[in-house]
C-alpha cells in the first residue's frame, strides 16, 4: 500500500518535522525542539497536533441507526444529546476491543473518530450492523487538528468566537473563512483543549494563525508522553482485540444502563466479568529509580513470580520520572503494591501507581 500523507505534510516538512511511518501514514514524530520541549510547551502554553490520519466517520439515519450502533458500541447512544461526545469502543463477540473511539451525536446522526490503523476494519465491523437506508462516509476531505494546553481556549476564542462556551466533551458548528467547521472540547493529553474538524483547503490558514500565537507543532513522540502521563490508552499497545473493557479498567466507559440491559457484542462475557472481576487488569506503574520500563517489560512479584507485562512505558517530562502502564494479575493491582520490572535482564523495583500520573481539571 502506498504511504499516505495528510494535507499538512509539506507544512510539517517546512517546520522541520522528522517523519516516521505510522499506521500507513508519514507522520511527524517530532519537530526541531524535540519531544521534551514539545511536551512541556503543551502543558504550559499550547500545542497543535495534526491528527488527520484518524478516521472521521459520519453516519446518517433515523432512530434505527442508534439500535444498529448500540449492537457494537456499549455507550448509551439513545440518550446521547446532539453535540455531546462519549469515549467508547467497538466490541467483538468475545467482548474484546476492536478499537477505542470518540462518538459524537450530530443533527443527522453520529460522527465517530477512529484510530488510523484500525479505521478500515472498523468500518467493516460497523457496516455489518447498518441497515440499507443508513448512510455512511469516511470523510477524507477533512483534516483534524487537536489544539491542547492551558492557552488553547484564549487563542481559539479570538479566532472563532463562541468556542469558549463549549464544555468538555461537547461540540458545535462554527464558521471560519466562510466555511463550516466542527469544534469539540476534547483531546488526548490531559489538558484543556479542542479538536477542530476543518476542510483540507483551509487547514493551513488555521495553522498559520495558531503559529502566530506561539502555538508549537507537536509530534507523535510528545503525543505519546502526554497521553501516557494522562493515563490514556493507546490502541495496539494498551488495548487490542484480546483485551476487554473490564481488564482494561475502562468499565466506566460502558453506560450504566447498557451494563444492566446489555444487547451489545460480548455482553454475556462482560456481564460475568463485571460481577466477578477479571484475572488481569490494567494499572499504572512507577519504577522506583530512573529506569524506563518499556512495552513488553516483564513484571514480577517480590517473590519472583511473573505477574504481568508493560504495554506502554516512557519518561514523563511533567512527572519528571519514568511512567508506565501494563497488565498485572488482579491480586497485585492495588495502588502501592511493590513489584519488580525486568529490564535488560536485571530486576528493578517499582510500584503500582494511581492513574493518571498527571492531573489537570477539564472545563465542565
Amino acid at each position: 500500500m502506498e504511504v499516505q500523507k495528510t494535507a499538512l505534510y509539506n507544512y510539517h516538512k517546512n517546520l522541520g518535522a522528522k517523519f516516521v511511518p505510522f499506521a500507513g501514514y508519514e507522520m511527524p514524530i517530532q519537530y526541531k525542539d524535540g519531544i521534551v520541549k514539545e511536551h512541556i510547551s503543551t502543558r504550559t502554553h499550547a500545542g497543535f497536533f495534526d491528527v488527520s490520519h484518524m478516521g472521521q466517520f459520519f453516519l446518517e439515519g433515523d432512530e434505527t441507526l442508534v439500535e444498529s450502533l448500540e449492537k457494537i458500541i456499549p455507550a448509551d447512544l439513545k440518550n446521547l444529546k446532539i453535540n455531546h461526545s462519549k469515549y467508547s469502543f467497538l466490541l467483538n463477540n468475545e467482548g474484546g476491543i476492536i478499537d477505542d473511539l470518540i462518538i459524537t451525536r450530530t443533527e443527522k446522526g453520529f460522527c465517530i473518530i477512529l484510530n488510523a490503523a484500525c479505521k478500515e476494519n472498523d468500518i467493516k465491523q460497523i457496516s455489518q450492523f447498518l441497515k440499507k437506508h443508513h448512510k455512511h462516509l469516511l470523510n477524507n476531505d477533512l483534516s483534524l487538528i487537536a489544539l491542547q494546553g492551558p492557552k488553547s481556549v484564549e487563542i481559539l476564542e479570538k479566532l472563532i468566537p463562541g468556542v469558549a462556551n463549549l464544555k468538555f466533551m461537547t461540540g458545535n458548528n462554527f464558521e471560519y473563512e466562510g466555511e463550516n467547521l466542527y469544534v469539540t472540547r476534547s483531546g488526548y493529553t490531559g489538558e484543556d483543549g479542542f479538536e477542530i474538524s476543518i476542510s483540507n483547503t483551509k487547514v493551513e490558514k488555521l495553522i498559520d494563525y495558531l503559529i502566530s500565537n506561539e502555538v508549537k507543532p507537536i509530534g507523535l513522540g510528545a503525543r505519546d508522553t502526554l497521553r501516557l502521563e494522562a493515563g490514556l490508552c493507546l490502541y495496539g499497545h494498551d488495548l487490542n482485540e484480546k483485551i476487554n473493557p473490564v481488564e482494561a479498567n475502562l468499565k466506566w466507559a460502558i453506560a450504566k444502563k447498557r451494563k444492566e440491559v446489555g444487547g451489545f457484542n460480548g455482553w454475556e462475557k462482560i456481564k460475568n466479568l463485571l460481577a466477578n472481576g477479571s484475572e488481569k487488569i490494567r494499572v499504572g506503574i512507577k519504577p522506583d529509580g530512573k529506569v524506563i520500563a518499556r512495552e513488553n517489560t516483564k513484571i514480577f512479584s517480590l517473590d519472583n513470580n511473573e505477574i504481568g507485562f508493560v504495554t506502554s512505558g516512557t519518561f514523563g517530562p511533567s512527572v519528571n520520572a519514568p511512567v508506565a502502564m501494563g497488565y498485572v494479575k488482579s491480586e497485585f493491582s492495588e495502588v502501592g503494591t511493590s513489584i519488580q520490572l525486568e529490564v535488560r535482564g536485571k530486576k528493578y523495583g517499582g510500584k503500582i501507581s494511581e492513574l493518571p500520573f498527571y492531573k489537570k481539571s477539564y472545563v465542565k
Binding site: 524535540g34 519531544i35 516512557t314
Partner: protein
C-alpha cells in the same frame, strides 16, 4: 590527553597514557533526542572492542553504547546517570560515559579522526 578518535557507532575516545575515556558524539545525541536515562558500567567490568558497555535511553528508545576499544573499566560517570539530560548539553566534554584501562593501543589508532568521522556522518545520514 590525546586527540579524540571516533567509531562508526558514534562513540568518541580520548587517551591519557593507557587509560581511555569514552563518550557518545554530539551527532549521536542529535539522533537520539532528549536523553532521559543512562546506565554506566561499574569499575572492574571487562569489555571487548565493540562489546556492549553502557545504555542510553531517549524519550524515543533505548540504545546500547559500545566500547570502541577493549579493556577493563576503571570508572563509570555517575554524574550522567544522575542527570541524563547533561549528555545532550555536553556530550563530548563533561558528559563522558566511562574510563577504561586499555590493552591494545592499536585499537585506538585504527579509529577515525575527527575529519574522517564528520565525513562518515555526512555519507551515512540516518
Amino acid at each position: 590527553m590525546s586527540e579524540k578518535k571516533f567509531s562508526k557507532k558514534h562513540e568518541w575516545v580520548s587517551l591519557d597514557g593507557d587509560v581511555a575515556t569514552v563518550g557518545i558524539t554530539k551527532h549521536a545525541t542529535e539522533m537520539l533526542g532528549d536523553i532521559v536515562f543512562v546506565e554506566v558500567p561499574d569499575a572492574g567490568k571487562v569489555v571487548e572492542k565493540e562489546g556492549q558497555a553502557a545504555v542510553v535511553e531517549s524519550t524515543k528508545a533505548a540504545s546500547d553504547v559500545y566500547s570502541p576499544i577493549s579493556g577493563e573499566i576503571t570508572e563509570g560517570n555517575k554524574a550522567i546517570a544522575n542527570d541524563p539530560g547533561s549528555v545532550n548539553t555536553d556530550p563530548e566534554g563533561a558528559s563522558w560515559f566511562f574510563k577504561l584501562k586499555i590493552k591494545d593501543k592499536g585499537e585506538y589508532d585504527s579509529l577515525m579522526s575527527k575529519d574522517e568521522y564528520d565525513k562518515f556522518c555526512k555519507e551515512n545520514p540516518s
